[in-house]
């Protein structure tokens, strides 16, 4: 068990280093000077030079990369002040520490993800199970058709339509807004309800389709049929055998989705003006705020890798035949 986690952590570290190098060098290969961003409207050569010194941009790119990587592990000193590990440096756009900014945005993304996932897991799996259980019935048919259409929706299409219907034209609800859960749980819930619903719509549809099809597949498996033939009740067979067997693919997909959602849901955040990691990413790209892009890229990749490990570990719990090695 310990060995499994150690090995996976090591592997993840290697991948992260590769990703950071790839991103860093590719970005420095473009002709635009990243210091321009920090230079303001009256950008004289003098101030540009000062900024280069302040940001360490006057050194060769490989040296800059090594300093950046060393900063993550050991922290480093900037003209602005010391930056304790893990130090991703300071934003070129507003001189704020990258890591603090990311940590600050993370709760919004976590809230969006956790709430959205709660909605789509319950609704999606519930609908999928019901459809599989009542296979061929009217329920099955309507669920399947609805999920087909809904899964084809795009957030940038659905979002404005829902906002228009619930908020701006009817005033039924407030505009979406993030309040910290610790500050006011009720406001947190109400403020994020619309984003959760819209985001979950598409996921719900996908999970309905997926859980239905895997369940049906499982029901046709030999051990399930054997159990049925032995006279077990349909319910027992369904929940004890088929359901358990269908968990693996669902957990796999869920882990992947969580990984990418924790890294920021760009389109959802953009559509609802929420300041999470996704929004941070888009903003920093539009501004070519290099350290911020690096920080977000590494943070998001870490999330993905983390959930990959979790999923692999989860297999062992779901299916005793899988051993962690």
């Amino acid at each position: 068990m310990l060995q499994f986690f150690l090995r996976r952590t090591l592997g993840a570290a290697v991948i992260l280093i590769l990703i950071s190098a790839f991103t860093f060098f590719l970005f420095f290969s473009i002709p635009q000077d990243p210091a321009l961003l920090a230079c303001g409207k009256n950008c004289t050569p003098d101030s540009l030079k000062i900024i280069h010194e302040n940001l360490g941009l006057d050194k060769p790119v490989p040296v800059q990369y090594l300093e950046f990587m060393r900063g993550i592990v050991m922290g480093r000193d900037f003209a602005v002040g010391p930056c304790p590990a893990p130090c991703f440096g300071y934003s070129f756009a507003n001189n704020q520490p990258i890591f603090d900014t990311i940590l600050d945005r993370f709760p919004t993304t976590v809230s969006l993800t956790v709430g959205g996932a709660a909605v789509f897991l319950t609704l999606g799996l519930g609908a999928g199970m019901l459809a599989a259980w009542k296979r061929g019935s009217l329920i099955d048919k309507s669920f399947s058709s609805a999920s087909l259409v809904l899964s084809s929706m795009q957030i940038y299409f659905l979002g404005p339509v829902v906002l228009g219907a619930l908020v701006y034209s009817t005033n039924l609800m407030d505009s979406p807004k993030y309040t910290a859960f610790t500050e006011n749980p009720a406001a947190w819930f109400v403020g994020l309800l619309i984003p959760w619903m819209v985001m979950a719509t598409i996921f719900t549809a996908n999970y309905t389709r997926m859980s239905r099809s895997t369940l049906i597949e499982q029901l046709q498996e030999e051990h399930v049929r054997t159990a049925k033939a032995k006279g077990m009740s349909g319910k027992t067979v369904f929940f004890r055998y088929a359901w358990r067997g269908s968990l693996i693919p669902i957990v796999t997909i869920f882990g992947m989705d969580l990984g990418s959602l924790f890294g920021g849901a760009m389109i959802t955040e953009q559509t609802f003006s929420l300041a999470g990691i996704g929004r941070l990413a888009v903003d920093s790209v539009i501004k070519t705020d290099l350290p911020m892009i690096m920080g977000v890229m590494l943070f998001t990749a870490t999330m993905i890798l983390f959930f990959n490990v979790i999923v692999d570990a989860a297999y062992a719990f779901i299916d005793p035949r899988v051993r962690l090695s």
């Binding site: 993840a12 991948i15 590769l18 990703i19 991103t23 590719l26 290969s29 473009i30 002709p31 635009q32 399947s144 087909l148 259409v149 899964s151 084809s152 929706m153 795009q154 940038y156 299409f157 404005p160 339509v161 906002l163 228009g164 701006y168 034209s169 598409i202 996921f203 996908n206 999970y207 389709r209 997926m210 239905r212 099809s213 895997t214 597949e217 693919p249 997909i253 992947m256 989705d257 990418s260 959602l261 890294g263 920021g264 760009m266 389109i267 953009q270 559509t271 990413a281 888009v282 790209v285 539009i286 070519t288 892009i293 977000v296 890229m297 998001t300 990749a301 999330m303 993905i304 890798l305």
Partner: protein, 343 residues
């Protein structure tokens, strides 16, 4: 952009590729009449009316994309002229269409665009053309890459398999959305002299590159797995024993057995590529004005939705119709190939 869609694609995998398309199953069905698997598939597909209808819609979208210049010629409008600015009375003081329903008229069937006053139908038709072109290219390239890498890894095994597997792990750990957004400007900047107008094709190529780069690993892994299990099958063993060169084994024995998952996956990948591309434009890193673009229409439509909902209507309905029909088509295709997996 596509995490949900990707999930759809992958979730469909598990159903789409239950076991390698068992030659046995096909034989059981068809041996009585002695038809080839291809013929059988065609017969089954023809019986599936929804499948045929969605295939027609899919075909229609391709036709629209392909014939955009012809449509433009017949319709007498183009996607670039700012009709609303040139003809007084079409747009009001705030540059919104004066006519009802977004300015739908005999001249402008889908209305005119707020602000610039271009023809919505032409914008959409050309937008579809661009999106489909990129989507097709991305799909073709990803499928090809996946075949090469997946089959190589699966067939060669050993070290090759290990290292190709690590490459795929590496690429899978890349945050794909963020990668698309972050590298679009970089890729464009790499190609262009900063003082010249960026030709549209460079942006198209950049879009293609970022979408392709992280698009192929899912299918690659799947094909690797399939190849791995096929390699152990008797008919491949037999071919090996008879001394057939590896290339021949891949071509004659492996690939024909992989056609089903490849085709089915491709039908799911194409709409995913189209929506991803639209998502990039929505976030502001896609194609630029004045190149007509489906995704950018959504970005504008979202902002003017309350005042001019019609402008959201046509691109929106077209997009939903397109994705639904493509998925239906993919389902039908899969069922026709492999009736056992039917849901």
């Amino acid at each position: 952009m596509t995490s949900p869609t990707q999930a759809a694609g992958i979730s469909a995998d598990s159903a789409a590729i239950p076991e390698p398309p068992a030659g046995g199953a096909v034989k059981k069905d068809g041996s009585a009449e002695g038809r080839s698997p291809g013929q059988l598939m065609w017969i089954r597909f023809k019986r599936d009316r929804t499948g045929v209808i969605s295939a027609c819609v899919v075909f229609f979208f391709f036709a629209v994309g392909l014939l955009a210049p012809v449509i433009s010629w017949l319709y007498g409008k183009n996607p670039y002229t700012t009709y609303g600015l040139e003809t007084p009375g079409l747009l009001d003081d705030f540059n919104f269409p004066t006519g009802a329903n977004g300015g739908i008229s005999a001249d402008h069937w889908f209305g005119i665009e707020p602000l610039l006053g271009r023809d919505v139908m032409m914008q959409l038709v050309y937008g579809i053309r661009t999106s489909l072109l990129i989507g097709l290219a991305v799909t073709a390239a990803t499928v090809l890459t996946a075949i090469v890498v997946g089959v190589t890894a699966g067939y060669m095994g050993g070290k090759t398999d290990y290292w190709l597997g690590r490459v795929m792990d590496f690429l899978l750990a890349f945050p794909s959305q963020l990668f698309f957004v972050a590298f679009m400007p970089v890729v464009v900047a790499l190609f262009v002299n900063p003082e010249e107008e960026t030709p549209t094709y460079i942006r198209v190529v950049a879009l293609f590159l970022v979408l392709w780069f992280l698009g192929w690993m899912g299918l690659g892994r799947l094909l690797r797995g399939q190849t791995l299990s096929l390699r152990e099958r008797e008919f491949v063993e037999a071919a090996k024993v008879s001394g057939a060169p590896p290339w021949r084994i891949v071509r004659k024995e492996l690939l024909p057995n992989l056609v089903t998952p490849i085709l089915v996956q491709a039908t799911y990948m194409l709409p995913a590529a189209v929506t991803s591309q639209a998502g990039l434009s929505f976030l502001g890193v896609g194609l630029l004005e004045p190149t007509p673009d489906w995704g950018r229409m959504f970005a504008t439509a979202g902002r003017v939705y309350e005042m001019d909902p019609t402008y959201m209507f046509f691109p929106g309905v077209a997009m939903v119709l397109f994705v639904v029909c493509f998925n239906l088509f993919g389902d039908s295709l899969r069922d026709a190939f492999d009736p056992k997996s039917g849901r």
